[in-house]
Structure formats: C-alpha cells, structure tokens
C-alpha cells in the first residue's frame, strides 16, 4: 500500500473540523436518499414483511409470541440493516462518484464517519418504524425499562453498522455485493446480536437492570473497538 497522502484541507485535520466534514458527507447522503426515498421505503417495507412472516413461522398453540419476540426483533433489525447498508457505497459506484469524493480535500476518516452517520440515520429510521410495528404485532409491553431497551438498540446498532459500513465499501467492488455483505458481516454480528437478544429478553421479562449490565458493557466495548478500527483502517480500503 502506498503511503497515504497527508490529510488535505488544513483545518480539516482538527477534530472539530473532522466532525463538521463528516456531517457534510452524511448530509449529502441523506439528502440524496430523501429525494429518491426508494431505498428507505424498500427497507421499511422489508422490515414490516419480515415481522409479518415471522408471525406465521410459529405455531401459536405451542409458542407464545413473547417467547419469540426478542429474537424476531433482532433478526428483523439485522436483515433490514443489511439491506439498508448495501446502499451506502452502491450510490457512489455510478459515474465514479467515489473517486470524486476521494479527490475532495477531506480526510479519509471524515468520509468514513460521514458514511457511518448516514448509515446510522438510515438504519435508525428503519428501526424507529419497525419497533412500533413489532410492539403492535407481537403484543409486547416494553414495560418500565423502555429507556434501557432503547439503549440496547442504540449500542448494538452503533457497533454492527460501523463494521457494515466498511464492508459495504469493499463488497461494492465485487460482482455479488448483495450476497457478499451478509456472508462477511454476519460473523461480526454475532457478539452484538447475542448481547442485544439476551439483554432485550431480560428487559422485556421485567428482570432488574443489574442483570443486563454485563451485556451492555460488552456492547459498549464492541462499539468503541470497531468504530475506532473501522475509522482508522478505512484509508486502506479506498486508497490505492
């Protein structure tokens, strides 16, 4: 790998500038998405369909909806996130838009963080719609611990979206990007999904918060490690 050129744009290297540049990149992605709305709407319909299909994939006389609910919620989130994240770099492949983005006087870290923030907003929007649908379809009561449930969702999503963002930049260069992303990403989803499902099921059962602290800590450490690593290693993916 060639030596990476020093971040151009002077002030961009400062952390405040980095964040501002990242938000500019994210705003560009979100503006594009809001104008077409195709990917967002498909991801939403996909999430709703997964929830509906799951309801018919269980024998209602043998298994109560609540027993299956945490797994269904997280499988839905994981699948919908994967559908959504394929979009991030796919939109850049037309007309060599990625080259244009890389030529801009913006450090690589800012580009990655921008893409990451846009993906978070995107996946977060899908989750924000899927969660009420899930509560409706599965007759779930989030109970007194609802802020903790939201914290679990935020922590788990922040982790696997970081890994998904960097992988989507790579798979877009392959022929079967839509298939390659899940194959690469699912092993990386094991720790966040395990933690999220375990924590969610305990919280929905009304167990005390102290029972989920360990899982929350695992999710938080995963977030710190993989967001940092993905941000730093992103240059190796885009710089030839």
């Amino acid at each position: 790998m060639a030596e990476r050129p020093a971040p151009r744009g002077g002030a961009g290297a400062a952390s405040g500038g980095l964040l501002r540049l990242a938000l500019t990149v994210a705003a560009k992605d979100l503006r594009m998405e809001l104008r077409s709305r195709t990917a967002l709407l498909s991801a939403l319909v996909f999430a709703a369909l997964v929830l509906v299909v799951f309801n018919f994939a269980r024998d209602p006389t043998r298994l109560a909806a609540i027993d299956l609910a945490p797994s269904v919620l997280w499988i839905t989130f994981a699948f919908a996130a994967m559908v959504a994240m394929n979009r991030a770099f796919h939109v850049e492949s037309a007309h060599a838009a990625l080259d244009g983005l890389l030529l801009a006087p913006v450090p690589r870290e800012a580009i990655f963080l921008g893409k990451y923030v846009a993906n978070l907003a995107f996946v977060g929007a899908v989750e924000a719609v899927a969660l009420p649908l899930f509560i409706l379809f599965f007759n779930v009561d989030l109970g007194p611990h609802w802020p903790a449930v939201l914290a679990v969702i935020a922590l788990a999503t922040a982790g696997f979206v970081a890994v998904g963002t960097i992988f989507s930049a790579m798979v877009v260069r392959t022929r079967f990007a839509e298939l390659m992303l899940p194959v690469l990403l699912l092993p990386f989803m094991v720790p966040p999904l395990t933690g999220a499902v375990q924590a969610t099921s305990r919280l929905l059962a009304g167990r005390p918060l102290s029972e989920v602290v360990g899982w929350l800590r695992l999710l938080a450490v995963y977030d710190v490690v993989f967001v940092t690593l993905a941000t730093l290693i992103f240059a190796a993916v885009v710089d030839e």
Partner: protein, 253 residues
C-alpha cells in the same frame, strides 16, 4: 516499463512457482506418512481411555486439527496487519495460503468433533462456547476466501482481505466473550492450562507427536498453496506483458 513488484521482489516465474510447489508436496508427503505413523502409535501403543473407550482415539486428530486451524487463522490476522504496514506481496500470498489450509483444518475439526460427540455427549452438536467460537471462525474465513475469489484486481484483493483479516482477529475475543456465558460442555483443557497437564504420560506423548505432525502438514500445504499463488501471479504478469507488447507493436505499425 518496470517488471518489479511494489515490494521490490521480482515478479515470480513459473519455474520458481513449480519449485516451491514441489518442495511443498515433499513436506506434505512426509507429514502424511508421519500422520499414518501417529495413528499406528495411537491405536496400537497408546492405552485406551477407561471411560470413553475407543472413541477417545479421535482426540489425536481432533485436537491437532484444531491447533492447526486456530494457528493458521491467527497467522492470517498477523500477516494481514503486517501487509497493511509493509505492503509486501509475500505477506498477502502467505495469508491466502494460510487461510485456505486453516479452513481445511477447521473442517476436519468440525467433522471429527461431532463424530466423537454423538457417543460421548449423546448429541452431534451443542451450542457450547468453544464449539460456537470455532464454527464462527470457520464461517469468518470462508467469507474471507469468498471475498478474495470475488475480487479481480490483485492489489485490491490484498488490501481488502487484509482489512477483513485484521478485523477478524479483533472479533475473536468478542465472540468468545459473548458465547462464554452459555454453560460450557466441552472437555476442559488437559494440556495447555495453568497447572501441570492432567493427561496420562503415554497419551500426552502421542498427542504432542500428532500436534507436531499436523504442524508439519500445515507447513507443507501452505508451501504448496503459496507456490500455486506464485504460479497464478506469474501467469497474470505474462498476460500483462503480452498485452503490452501487442500495444507497442500496434503503436509502431
């Protein structure tokens, strides 16, 4: 025009590739013969375990295969990190070879395990921490190889797979932590543990010999695969040279 790779080493020739492959097969052959010897030793000259009976004999394949797979994957992660740092193409060739051999060893481990598990545990598979971890490592490196196969450009393939290799290395402790909370059923370590090995001397001897033999097998197979990688590169650069010569010819005409 330069015929030198970015790391400064010359572009491999087919002759050199063939030499590496031949040496690799020689080492592999020695390792396979030694493996046959290990099973004679295991079946005829090592005591039968009192409670597990003959089923325990699979231990002498399963444990060295697991050792081979896990070391192979760790070396892929290491070579990946070094590749991104140094950019030496040999590191990428080694990572590719090691990942393929590691997946093969992992497949041996994941098939011999259930064969033993059925009579001893009464079940082919259980979601025990160690089983789950190794299964996901297997999937991780199958994905790694799938990504390699799907990328055309050699340099891009090297960079991308190095990124996956490094991230995979960091993923291992997380998978381990997240699956560890399920009660573990797997036999506890009998050799590599803080106190002295609890395996009887005869069995320990056979196990250590088979681990050494599998390590040799790993080296042999990696050499073969490395040589095949060299041959692929030699062919690619031959094609590139031919294409360039044609261009020059056309330009002159």
């Amino acid at each position: 025009m330069t015929v030198v790779s970015d790391s400064g080493t010359a572009v491999p020739t087919l002759e050199r590739a063939a030499r590496v492959v031949r040496r690799g097969w020689a080492v592999t052959l020695v390792a396979l013969l030694a493996a046959a010897g290990v099973y004679v030793l295991a079946l005829a000259f090592t005591p039968i375990e009192a409670r597990q009976g003959l089923a325990q004999k699979i231990f002498y394949i399963h444990v060295p295969a697991a050792w081979g797979a896990l070391s192979a994957f760790a070396l892929v992660g290491l070579a990946s990190a070094l590749y991104l740092w140094l950019g030496d193409r040999r590191l990428d060739r080694f990572a590719e070879a090691s990942a393929e051999v590691g997946v093969m060893f992992a497949a041996v481990m994941l098939t011999t395990g259930p064969i033993w598990g059925k009579p001893i545990w009464g079940t082919w598979w259980t979601w025990d921490a160690r089983l789950t971890l190794t299964l996901f490592l297997f999937f991780l490196f199958v994905g790694y190889l799938a990504l390699r196969a799907a990328l055309q450009d050699r340099e891009e393939r090297a960079r991308f797979s190095a990124v996956v290799g490094i991230m995979g290395l960091l993923l291992v402790p997380f998978i381990h932590l997240s699956v560890y909370l399920f009660r573990t059923l797997h036999p506890q370590p009998v050799v590599l543990k803080p106190s002295a090995p609890s395996l009887p001397g005869d069995m320990l001897r056979t196990l250590l010999i088979s681990v050494a033999v599998f390590t040799l097998l790993y080296i042999g197979l990696v050499m073969v695969r490395y040589g095949v990688g060299l041959a692929e590169e030699a062919r690619e650069s031959e094609h590139e040279l031919a294409a360039r010569a044609e261009e020059l010819h056309d330009a002159r005409a």
